[in-house]
């Protein structure tokens, strides 16, 4: 509860931020890399929402995409491989007032971090997760990732990948408590921005898979989709993404998709040709773990100390009791 006067004053002196206020350093990504498009869209979102840099945190694991926090002039946590989500969950639990974003790659999220990914969806904590999916391990110079298409020749699969690619969307849509799933492609920045913005405004874990080009290792992989608008299926709905008239002229392949329809979302998500782009599923009524588990009362120093003491006491050996041979309680 904020007093009326404070609210009014805060609004009166609202600080405005420019894109530059969120830019930090020159990205070390290759020129032409789709990560740049995601970075630009996210910086735009921060500016448009006037997110206070000190109230915003980007968390990542390991990979090209996970360099993301370095390029945001906010708080950030460049974590360890596959562990972006647990770190972000810890941050949200301790500081529910922060805007938490997670940037993770297809290797980071869908391979070594897969267990955390599944449970993060189930926990449904309020954060925006962007899966930068370029379908390859780029930072370590081209090894197949779980989302690499079958037959892709890479340093680890010189005869071509043997397995069907994993579809991060259908996996996410299959987990209990899923509350927001969308797919964007880096070559339609307007829609990507709208999707990331909707994901940010959704209360709960919003999972956005961003299909992203890797010009260095897979320059040809997505070309057919890039150059043929018919291979993109735009999902539109009055409760989801509305397509601008200029975009509608280029992308004629569109479908009205109600984001509350989970079955239809699963069906649509399983396609890649044409690739569905838009909000597949949204359910704002799924409870957030941080709210279910909020402890009543304030975390005062005394309370924290008491809790710690109680925990440590479980393992304390009491010299006197030990001497008397009595079992410690």
């Amino acid at each position: 509860m904020t007093s009326a006067a404070t609210e009014c004053l805060l609004r009166m002196y609202d600080e405005h931020h420019e894109l530059e206020d969120y830019q930090s350093g020159v990205p070390r990504w290759c020129t032409g890399c789709g990560d740049n498009a995601i970075l630009a869209a996210v910086q735009r979102l921060c500016r448009d929402e006037d997110l206070r840099p000190e109230k915003t945190v980007f968390v990542s694991g390991i990979g090209c995409s996970s360099r993301f926090p370095h390029y945001m002039k906010t708080y950030g946590f460049h974590g360890i491989h596959g562990r972006a989500l647990p770190v972000a969950e810890g941050i949200k639990m301790a500081r529910p007032d922060l805007n938490v974003f997670v940037n993770t790659g297809d290797g980071d999220c869908c391979s070594i971090g897969a267990a955390h990914w599944i449970h993060a969806i189930r926990y449904n904590m309020n954060m925006t997760v962007m899966l930068h999916d370029n379908q390859i391990y780029g930072l370590t110079k081209m090894q197949a990732s779980p989302t690499s298409p079958k037959g892709l020749k890479s340093n680890t699969t010189p005869r071509g990948a043997y397995l069907e690619a994993l579809n991060p969307l259908t996996v996410t849509l299959g987990v209990q408590n899923v509350s927001f799933v969308a797919q964007a492609v880096d070559w339609i920045p307007e829609v990507m921005y709208d999707i990331i913005s909707a994901a940010f405004h959704h209360k709960g874990l919003s999972f956005v898979r961003i299909v992203q080009r890797c010009p260095e290792w897979l320059p040809k992989l997505l070309e057919p989709w890039l150059h043929d608008p018919e291979k993109v299926l735009l999902l539109e709905h009055e409760d989801a993404i509305r397509i601008s008239p200029s975009l509608a002229q280029v992308y004629k392949n569109r479908r009205r998709h109600d984001p509350s329809d989970l079955d239809r979302a699963r069906e649509t998500a399983s396609g890649f040709d044409p690739i569905p782009v838009g909000i597949l599923y949204r359910n704002p009524r799924v409870p957030c773990y941080e709210e279910l588990r909020t402890a009543a009362g304030l975390r005062s120093t005394e309370r924290i100390r008491k809790g710690l003491e109680a925990e440590f006491d479980k393992f304390t050996v009491w010299p006197q009791q030990a001497a008397e041979g009595a079992p410690a309680e």
């Binding site: 509860m1 007093s3 006067a5 004053l9 789709g34 890039l226 304030l298």
Partner: protein, 734 residues
């Protein structure tokens, strides 16, 4: 005029019995015939007594009727086969509780259940004991039981008010504790960074005694002193935060959840007089402002948003024009209880001061007697004049919540009472308790209910929060048959020939008056032998003119202790009071939109105009032959004329351009020439200066662009080397 009628008319006009044929009603234990069914209230299941639930405000109704509580428990335990027995026992216990309460026994539901259980049956009855145990286990709540008596309105209101205050205090307290903790954390962090905080002694103290010998705190301090932090709190901010913490901790408005205001450490907000409440309010106003200000500043400080150059001046003049209503709503409301019977003119004026000034006070004006004679003489009754005046002045003010109700109707108004307590502003609750002490054997509940039925003390609510006009704010519908002058009920009886009869009887102000001992002289019983056709029901008689010698005499149907019917004639004074009462009721009806004269007048006008129009249409010449539709205008021609303009002319392919909205910010073009290509404020590329580079660079950028949105156009410099080849390469991108 025949003799019988003569005597009756004489009584009606003078109030004196001049013949033997009439009998005074004092001592006959008569009551209005419609009360015949309500002789023993303990045998009836109705709204009262009430259970004032303990721990109210936690998702449970704070007040419930005893019957509803018992029914709720029964629903939980009743199973097939045992339903009859459990229900019978539960209802028996409920009646015993009613009997106890009616006899003046006070206590909680559980204690009264214990007492009641001793009465009906031997405890040895196994089945009864089983029913009792199961009923007790199924009771969802406990709390004080109150019957509809003189003290009930104040207890009910205070109970609901306390629940509301607790909710408010809990919310405000949580807010204050959070702010104190946050500010203390800021101070603590500042201390740790200060020189004093990094001194050896302070480090040692922070460490604890267990292993202190293992550390060299001097060395640690020296090391830490070197790493002096760049930013510390400014002195003024530190002083401000300390002041805020002190103010927040010293506040006396909101006790912690486990404390009450009884020990004097915190302010109490319930008062028995307007003057007391007003004095307390004035005295506490400065600390209230201080606290509101401290909370506002603390909120800014906690968010790190307090800027001295902006906010100092603002807070120096904080709330000089009063607090924002939303901020004021955080603070406790005062509860003022006033006895309307003994209220002086000064008290009344002070109450009006409170109400018109919009102070956060909830005022209960209780009145026990609405039938006392007017002090002005002339034999007229006051009919609760003081509380009526208060209520109508308050309503005229427009932004005051007003609720008037006899006590019997308060339970039905419980949600409206809560709305009044929640209302951001003053509220006036005007209640008639029914405990006149002059109503013979009638319990206060019946007297209060009779006042409602007889329109002597109508129930209404004026809630400014519900809308901007009277239609949405004023609520009159809880009065029985509100659209009529007097509510009409059916009375069934057995006649001399033991045949069933029924009559529709209106319950009027006269029925209410006859319950009061002080007005017994206005009534005279007519023995059955002298009943005649000139005796007409009061309601019919009220419709006639009051002047001149009447041909009929108004009479009431009443019953005695054995429920035998009697007829009682009424004198002119009682009739006059009934007419006055009806006038007041009618004016209330108008406010409530019932038989509203403005609306009716408008309706008549409109109807007249409509009929007039109808007549004109009918008298006009017969309908003309259907005209042919206008010839279709040359639609085709028009359409042709407004041909869509040519599609937006395509950009000239001679000129270089970028489809900026489609740019993916991938840096390809920027890497080629960052003067020629630039980013806009959304970090999407455009051609910043086409002259800043060569045509070759444009073509290379177009080829390199991942999304093919760069269009190089035609070369500007015809002397550029290798142009022929470049133009060929540029072709796919034009």
């Amino acid at each position: 005029m025949e003799a019988g009628l003569q005597a009756h008319v004489a009584f009606h006009l003078t109030g004196k019995t001049q013949s033997d044929g009439l009998e005074a009603i004092t001592g006959l234990d008569l009551r209005p015939a419609l009360f015949a069914g309500y002789r023993d209230l303990t045998r009836l299941r109705y709204d009262f007594p009430l259970v004032l639930a303990q721990g109210a405000g936690e998702g449970r109704a704070p007040v419930q009727s005893l019957s509803a509580v018992i029914d709720g428990a029964l629903r939980k335990i009743v199973q097939a086969g045992e339903a009859d027995r459990l229900t019978k026992h539960a209802l028996r216990l409920e009646r015993e509780i009613r009997v106890l309460v009616a006899a003046g026994v006070a206590g909680s539901l559980s204690s009264l259940l214990d007492k009641a259980a001793w009465r009906p049956m031997a405890q040895a009855d196994v089945l009864f004991r089983d029913s009792l145990a199961r009923l007790r286990a199924a009771l969802e709540l406990d709390g004080e039981i109150v019957d509809c008596d003189k003290a009930m309105p104040a207890r009910l209101l205070a109970h609901l008010w306390r629940a509301m205050q607790r909710r408010k205090a809990r919310a405000a307290r949580a807010d204050i504790d959070r702010l104190v903790l946050r500010l203390s954390d800021i101070l603590k962090a500042d201390l740790v960074r200060s020189e004093a905080g990094r001194s050896a002694a302070s480090l040692k103290a922070a460490f604890g005694a267990a292993h202190e010998h293992a550390f060299d705190f001097d060395a640690m301090s020296r090391l830490l002193q070197k790493a002096a932090p760049a930013d510390t709190l400014s002195d003024s901010r530190r002083r401000r935060i300390r002041r805020l913490v002190a103010t927040l901790q010293a506040q006396k408005f909101f006790p912690p959840p486990d404390r009450t205001t009884a020990d004097g450490e915190f302010y109490a907000f319930a008062f028995d007089s307007a003057a007391g409440a007003l004095d307390a309010y004035r005295e506490r106003l400065p600390s209230m402002m201080d606290l509101a200000k401290a909370m506002a500043i603390a909120e800014l400080e906690a968010a790190g948003a307090y800027k001295e150059e902006r906010h100092d001046a603002f807070f120096a003049d904080f709330a000089t024009n009063g607090l924002d209503p939303r901020d004021a709503a955080l603070f406790p409301d005062y509860l003022v209880r006033v006895d309307g019977g003994v209220m002086s003119a000064g008290d009344g004026a002070r109450l009006m001061d409170i109400l018109t000034a919009g102070l956060p006070m909830k005022v209960l004006v209780e009145i026990d007697d609405i039938l006392e004679p007017s002090a002005a003489g002339g034999g007229q009754l006051v009919l609760g004049a003081r509380s009526r005046q208060l209520a109508s002045s308050a309503m005229a003010q427009g932004d005051i919540y007003v609720l008037q109700s006899p006590s019997s109707n308060l339970f039905r108004f419980r949600e409206r009472i809560e709305a009044g307590l929640e209302y951001r502003g003053p509220a006036l609750f005007s209640v008639f308790s029914g405990a006149t002490g002059e109503a013979g054997g009638l319990p206060p509940y019946l007297v209060a209910a009779a006042a409602l039925e007889a329109r002597a003390f109508p129930a209404f609510v004026y809630d400014p929060a519900l809308g901007g006009d009277w239609a949405s704010r004023f609520y009159l519908q809880d009065n029985p048959q509100a659209e009529l002058d007097w509510p009409v009920q059916s009375l069934g009886f057995e006649d001399e020939a033991h045949q069933r009869g029924a009559e529709r009887l209106a319950f009027t102000m006269v029925d209410f008056l006859v319950c009061d001992r002080r007005y017994a002289a206005s009534f005279a019983r007519v023995p059955r032998a002298r009943w005649n056709g000139h005796m007409v029901p009061v309601e019919a008689s009220l419709g006639e003119g009051a002047e001149g010698a009447p041909e009929t005499v108004p009479c009431l149907l009443m019953v005695d202790g054995d429920n035998r019917l009697h007829k009682v004639i009424v004198d002119r004074r009682a009739m006059r009071e009934a007419r006055r009462c009806r006038e007041m009721w009618r004016s209330l009806q108008e406010l409530g939109g019932i038989h509203n004269s403005h609306a009716q007048r408008l309706l008549t006008q409109e109807r007249k105009a409509w009929e007039e129009q109808l007549r004109r249409t009918a008298s006009a010449s017969p309908a003309p032959a259907v005209e042919a539709p206008p010839p279709p205008a040359s639609v085709a021609a028009a359409a042709a004329a407004t041909e869509l303009p040519e599609a937006a002319s395509e950009r000239k392919s001679e000129e270089a351009y970028i489809e900026t909205p489609r740019c993916t910010s991938c840096n390809e073009c920027i890497a080629i020439n960052d003067k020629m290509f630039g980013y806009n404020r959304d970090k999407q590329a455009f051609i910043a200066d086409v002259a800043a580079g060569t045509y070759r660079q444009l073509v290379e950028a177009a080829e390199g662009c991942q999304v093919s949105i760069i269009h190089p156009g035609k070369p500007r410099n015809p002397d550029e080397p290798g142009l022929e080849e470049l133009i060929k390469r540029a072709e796919p991108f034009l």
